[in-house]
Amino acid sequence: MDIKVLGPGCPKCKQTEKNVKDAVSETGVSATVEKVTDVMEIAGYGVFGTPSVVIDGEVKSVGKIPSKDEIKTWIEK
């Protein structure tokens, strides 16, 4: 599983990245977590704002900090 956290870098983005990493760790799902900070690359996802979370190419959330539990529902299939 490929997870990307989109955001140039701010407390909300960092919290989102932490929630994602915690969710991955707690579920034991095999996943790579990448922080995307390049503005042009972020723009390529068509998101209105950050932080955003993309899982296997699908944009799951935009402009908010998803909770760890919410992220778990996305990665536990």
Binding site: V39, V47, F48, V62, G63
Partner: protein
């Protein structure tokens, strides 16, 4: 997308039909000017119409939005409905008494009227 992370303010998503008539282009011009003035940020309705994931998810997750149709055909509203996105604030420019035509020489007074109406529905 905002250049600054978690940019404060200006987070009203503005979706204009940008159609091929005076009122369609009025919706576009008003959206552009309101974005430039920091009232909100114009977003790509075509991306939503194309069901591109990032655009659709953005419209579903945004806390504040206004959709602007030039006329009662309601293309912007239809696009949102087709993508199952709730229409939070909505405006049809012909309802403001602006007659639809093919004159693309937009009147400044109409642009200002539309901008004021957009601000009003967002209150």
């Amino acid at each position: 997308m905002a250049k600054e992370c978690c940019a404060p303010g200006g987070n009203i998503m503005i979706l204009a039909c940008s159609g091929g008539s005076n009122v369609g282009q009025l919706s576009n011009q008003a959206a552009v000017e309101l974005t430039q003035e920091g009232f909100g940020r114009m977003f790509c309705l075509a991306g939503i119409g194309g069901h591109l994931g990032g655009f659709v998810r953005s419209a579903k997750d945004v806390p504040a939005m206004v959709a602007i149709d030039g006329c009662e055909v309601g293309c912007a509203k239809a696009i949102l409905e087709h993508a199952e996105i709730p229409t939070k604030n909505y405006l049809v420019l012909t309802d403001l008494g602006i007659e639809k035509n093919k004159d693309f020489n937009l009147k400044e007074e109409d642009i200002q009227k539309v901008k004021a109406a957009i601000k009003s529905v967002c209150e």
